[in-house]
């Protein structure tokens, strides 16, 4: 991606914002698709999953960045997975302690955060090379970007598929819910639509930049 290996990034606003837009884990890097498609059929699930993933992402990235010089590169993946898995277990217990209903709603997907490639990807591509504070800010941004993406899917799917938003009726009562939206295919439809929108906006921006450059070059 934008950061070159072996290059220590300077902390800037961009460190945080990159995860939200330019390198959004879902819409741009297309990572962690399993929870994106699976738990976004309601807004509440999307928020809970996003926050849980963000916590694991920030905690594991920070720890990995802290001990990055101690990890021999032959065993780095094993080390990352053990660290990530411990934090996932922590989240698992904490969610059970907060609310059993929420825990039941998220089902197996809490444990599956271990296999979320956003987290391992961040550990390998960023945390293992960058300093502590930039890693913390960057993973926070990535987590926020991931949560936003889940929310973008979750709200659309819940409104269209169930006529509700966070459990409250928002569609007129004569609205027939599009059940397909809360089924797995609906996840693909909505994800496809968002990807299309993201790609379109990015393309237009690039074209505009090119035009501006062309205009200034001609002048």
């Amino acid at each position: 991606m934008a950061t070159l290996p072996n290059q220590q990034e300077k902390l800037s606003l961009d460190t945080f914002l990159r995860g939200l837009w330019e390198e959004n884990p879902v819409f741009v890097m297309l990572l962690g698709m399993c929870p994106v498609l699976a738990v976004t059929n309601s807004t509440m699930n999307a928020i809970a999953m996003g926050l849980a993933t963000t916590f694991v992402l920030v905690a594991s990235s920070t720890l990995i960045s802290l001990i990055r010089k101690l990890i021999p590169k032959q065993v780095r993946i094993a080390s990352y997975i053990v660290i990530i898995a411990s934090f996932v277990t922590v989240v698992d217990y904490v969610i059970q302690a907060i609310s059993l209903d929420l825990y039941n709603a998220l089902g197996a997907f809490i444990q599956l955060i271990v296999a979320n490639c956003v987290i391992l990807g961040r550990a390998e591509a960023y945390a293992s090379k960058q300093r502590l504070h930039t890693t913390f800010i960057n993973s926070l941004g990535m987590g926020a970007g991931f949560t936003l993406a889940l929310l973008a899917l979750g709200t659309v799917r819940e409104v269209l598929g169930n006529g509700t938003l966070l459990g409250l009726q928002v569609m007129p009562t004569n609205f027939e819910p599009w059940v397909v939206m809360i089924l797995p295919p609906g996840g693909f439809f909505v994800l496809g639509a968002w990807l299309l929108l993201f790609a379109y906006v990015r393309r237009r921006r690039e074209l505009r930049l090119l035009e501006q450059e062309g205009a200034s070059g001609a002048a």
Partner: protein, 238 residues
């Protein structure tokens, strides 16, 4: 961390053996991880136990209408047994303020779409029917199968679901079973949710299997169950 410039297969000369470093790092991380998990487990365990206790408590009073106290009893072939006896099954006897037995809450489970659906149902011995259900644990598809937990039309099936005994008194007169949405004709049938048939069938099967065994036992030992009111209130026999 600057990546070593060595090419794979040609380890650079390091003061320590790479093997030792690897073992040390992995061992250290594993110990740290274990410590973290144990600390969090210890810290959250009482909260989780409390949540589960509240969930069961709420569920018992939800599935037995009119109840205000509960006594945990173990019911087996020999009657009401001591708590912890493996020969029987735990049931929650629910009494009202006057100490009248209003019903019994029984836990049941059956294979659903993805995993076992665990639920608690309330059996009313006076009408020989199921008075309510509460799903305790499931991993049914959110938005579809999980509707068995809260869909009002589906839960209406369990307001007075017939579970009367056959003349011999050793099984149900009519097995409780799920039928396709809109095809419910008898009191012992469960009208399935359209689009969540497998989950609906799981709920019906769980109740049927448990009732086939428990309803005859409960009817046979009804007097003993009524007497358990004296054993205590709300907290039950611990």
């Amino acid at each position: 961390m600057s990546t070593p410039t060595s090419t794979p297969g040609h380890p650079t000369a390091t003061p320590q053996t790479p093997g030792f470093r690897m073992i040390r790092t992995l061992g250290g991380i594993a110990m740290l991880a274990g410590l973290l998990v144990v600390v969090v487990f210890q810290w959250t365990a009482p909260y989780i136990a409390e949540n589960q206790r509240i969930a069961i408590e709420k569920a018992v009073f939800q599935v037995v209408p009119g109840a205000s106290q509960r006594v945990d009893v173990v019911l087996g072939e020999a009657g009401v047994l001591a708590v912890g006896d493996a020969a029987g099954e735990t049931v929650y006897a629910a009494f009202d303020d006057q100490g009248e037995l209003r019903g019994l809450a029984v836990a049941a489970g059956a294979q659903g779409y993805q995993d076992i659906v665990k639920l608690l149902y309330g059996y009313d011995p006076s009408c020989q029917c199921v008075r309510g259900i509460k799903i305790l644990k499931m991993t049914e598809t959110p938005g579809l199968g999980d509707k068995v937990a809260f869909d009002p039309a589906f839960l209406d099936n369990f307001v007075a679901l017939d579970a009367s005994l056959n003349p011999a008194g050793d099984a149900l007169a009519n097995p409780i079973k799920a039928v396709k949405h809109g095809h419910k004709q008898h009191d012992w049938e469960v009208d399935a949710i359209s689009g969540a048939t497998i989950s609906s069938v799981a709920v019906a099967n769980a109740i049927d299997r448990s009732m086939q065994r428990m309803a005859p036992l409960i009817q046979r030992h009804l007097a003993a169950l009524r007497d358990t009111a004296a054993l205590g209130n709300s907290g039950g026999v611990e």
